[in-house]
């Protein structure tokens, strides 16, 4: 077991005829074939409106997500469409009954996401992202842009607001012999689908996850809320890292979410909240893998 992604996952890519959409669909297909030894295909094809009936590198292309659900049994979508069409693509996937929507697209207008999130919440689909690296359950399926080789199968659940920092964490864990049950990048935007607490709850209830590593950054108060939730509900060891300790106030550091405003959302506040909830906090970005090890050792 794992969370979000399992052996029944059947993926399509919305925006598969775009350069990035195709490249990463190919990488996901390779991962399923070479790293997971799956007999049935995990990555089924894609959707691009107006290009239905064609084929790109062996992937059938369909006009609508509904058609992909009906004809090829898709239950998961990786969204790669340009930012201005992203909310529409998410809404289409939810309406078609896609269970897990993973939106990779960066630069989606915030109010578009307000509409899309409200819609997805009404349908009961789960949205991850946007502006995220995706989801991977090592050895089962990769849905996203993360490099496959840095991940090993194991028992740590990894959650992160940042893309490349997630890779860094998975890589560091690999170097100290810790594999992952599932890794989820939740995205760096102000309005996102699935948040820290949603995933912490799933990991706490997942029998194959024995520990949780959470990677946050400055801005907002999601990490503080997660700390409170963990203190009250989580029995598994948890480690965390917060990026942006040295970021100056008022400056937006790339992610729309990463800004310290009015003295709120600082790394110091977040670290204090996490530590007071009994969470092992990595003091440096080079210390994430070892922090997870310490948290596990502490619990034993």
């Amino acid at each position: 077991m794992s969370i979000l992604v399992d052996k029944d996952t059947r993926v399509i890519c919305q925006g598969i005829t775009g350069r990035a959409g195709l490249f990463h669909s190919q990488k996901c297909r390779e991962y399923a074939r070479d790293e997971c030894g799956r007999e049935q295909p995990v990555f089924l094809g894609g959707v691009t409106p107006g290009k239905g009936g064609t084929d790109v590198d062996g992937f059938p292309v369909l006009n609508t997500v509904a058609e992909a659900v009906e004809t090829i049994g898709a239950n998961t979508s990786m969204v790669f469409v340009p930012p201005r069409f992203c909310a529409d693509a998410i809404i289409e996937a939810a309406d078609a009954g896609i269970k897990l929507i993973v939106a990779i697209t960066e630069g989606v207008p915030v109010l578009d996401m307000v509409r899309a999130k409200a819609h997805v919440d009404r349908t009961g689909s789960r949205l991850v992202g946007p502006n995220c690296p995706g989801v991977i359950t090592p050895g089962v399926a990769k849905i996203g842009i993360m490099p496959g080789y840095i991940h090993t199968n194991g028992t740590v659940g990894l959650i992160s607001r940042s893309g490349t920092l997630t890779y860094e964490a998975a890589w560091q864990m690999g170097r100290v012999g810790l594999g992952q049950s599932t890794c989820v990048g939740i995205g760096g935007d102000p309005i996102i689908g699935t948040n820290f607490i949603d995933l912490i709850e799933l990991f706490q209830n997942d029998p194959d996850t024995e520990a949780i590593l959470m990677i946050g950054e400055i801005g907002g108060n999601a990490e503080e809320q997660a700390a409170e939730y963990i203190e009250q509900n989580v029995t598994k060891p948890v480690a965390a890292f917060i990026a942006g300790r040295t970021a100056p106030p008022g400056k937006r550091m790339g992610h729309a979410g990463a800004i310290i405003s009015g003295g709120k959302g600082t790394a110091a506040e977040k670290v204090a909240a996490l530590e007071s909830a009994g969470i092992e906090v990595a003091q440096s970005p080079a210390d994430m893998g070892e922090a997870m090890q310490r948290a596990i050792a502490r619990q034993d």
Binding site: I104, L111, P147, P190, A243, K251, M253, A258, S284
Partner: protein, 395 residues
């Protein structure tokens, strides 16, 4: 994207929100003429910069001159304008460098009965915009939140239905508005919310929102910013952009699709991903160095964009060493190395360079580095990279 107060008020007026009469002045003579044209006994002259705290701010060249001042005659308007236009205003928000004032906004004086606060921002928790109101106008809302949170009132804004009459009544009631002021709120608040949605704002802040003696709600200030991701829907906003308010390197980076923030240190950083870029800064500092910048090349950057990134970093005279930290995902490591080697030809490297690569196409990229005869220090992990780059600066 931020705009000036006068631009915000012009947009508000176009959206049907009543704003005080005001005239833009770019010279002392225009300021005097504006006072005469407004025709009142009193006018307010306000420095137009993209920062708050203007009233308490003072000019570097004129230490007694405030950034916002009441004037009572055309001559007074001219004299004050002479001390303001072209000079550098330093406020609590500008930092020590201050900002040059090129434009004044001359506005009619109002008979103010009360000052309130009103702001609309996107709230992560509720997943949509929220209207924040307070009876404490004119103060920073963060200060009010810290000292007297009971004076802050919130209503969630459903962007498909707009602010409901019951929500307006709730806010008016809590703010203690009655009679004409409560009536004024029934048009002012929904219009302001519609303005926020129609223009893809990331923030609309009216502080203070005044209640005049006549019971009209009127924005005395207007701080409006837009969601950069939605600018494609609002082509007319391009002309509102004031490049003189922005850091030159940051504008250049944005044009190339890079995310760059100029800092005070001497170690230039080129990283992919915002989280990793922030962490790289943190790590440099942890090892005793000072980052010269935050630079996230993003995932979709091509060789040209990455080359521009090197140009921007190397153009900063403070940069004494460069650290490249790439964990390829959507970004391919070989793209970075191709741009890096190209930068030696096109830009010229005069400072030490430390490179740490991992992720997509890393083997190809490492081979390219090994085959080149450039003097590049490679690092195996984050700590190694930070230690090596700090060491190049000597102690």
């Amino acid at each position: 994207m931020k705009i000036h107060e006068y631009q915000g008020k012009q947009l508000l007026a176009a959206a049907g929100v009543t704003v005080p009469r005001g005239i833009v002045a770019r010279t002392p003579d225009e300021a005097a003429a504006a006072f005469s044209e407004l025709g009142g006994e009193i006018a307010v002259m306000k420095s137009q910069i993209h920062a708050g705290g203007r009233g308490k701010g003072r000019f570097k060249e004129q230490p007694d001159q405030p950034g916002v001042i009441l004037v009572r005659s055309a001559d007074e308007a001219r004299e004050n304008a002479e001390r303001m236009i072209g000079n550098t205003l330093v406020t609590i928000q500008t930092g020590e460098a201050g900002k040059t004032v090129n434009v004044l906004f001359v506005e009619q004086g109002l008979n103010i009965a009360r000052e309130l606060y009103l702001g609309i921002v996107v709230d992560r928790e509720s997943g949509g915009p929220v209207v924040i109101a307070s009876s404490e106008g004119g103060m920073s809302i963060e200060e009010v939140a810290a000292e007297s949170p009971e004076k802050i009132f919130r209503e969630s804004l459903d962007i498909s239905t707009g602010l409901q009459p019951s929500q307006v009544r709730n806010l008016a009631d809590k703010l203690g508005l009655d009679g004409q002021a409560a009536q004024s709120a029934t048009t002012f608040l929904p219009k302001l919310c519609q303005f926020f949605v129609d223009n893809d704002c990331s923030m609309t802040e009216i502080n203070p929102l005044v209640v005049t003696d006549e019971g009209e709600l009127t924005p005395l200030d207007a701080k409006v910013s837009f969601d950069d991701n939605a600018l494609f829907r609002h082509e007319n906003f391009a002309e509102l952009r004031d490049l003189s308010e922005e850091d030159e390197s940051e504008v250049r980076a944005a044009d190339a699709g890079l995310s760059y923030v100029n800092l005070d240190g001497n170690i230039g950083c080129l990283v992919n991903g915002a989280g990793l870029a922030m962490s790289t800064m943190d790590l440099i500092k942890l090892h005793g160095g000072e980052p010269a910048n935050f630079l996230d090349v993003g995932g979709g950057a091509d060789v040209q964009a990455v080359t521009e990134a090197f140009r921007i970093i190397l153009a900063d005279p403070n940069v004494k060493a460069v650290l490249v930290n790439i964990f390829g995902g959507i970004m391919k490591c070989d793209t970075i190395v191709e741009a890096l080697l190209g930068a030696y030809e096109k830009v010229g490297f005069s400072v030490p360079l430390v490179v740490r690569l991992e992720g997509t196409n890393v083997e190809v990229a490492r081979a390219m580095l090994a085959e080149s005869d450039r003097d590049i220090t490679t690092a195996t992990d984050l700590t190694d990279a930070a230690e090596k780059v700090v060491a190049t600066l000597g102690a």
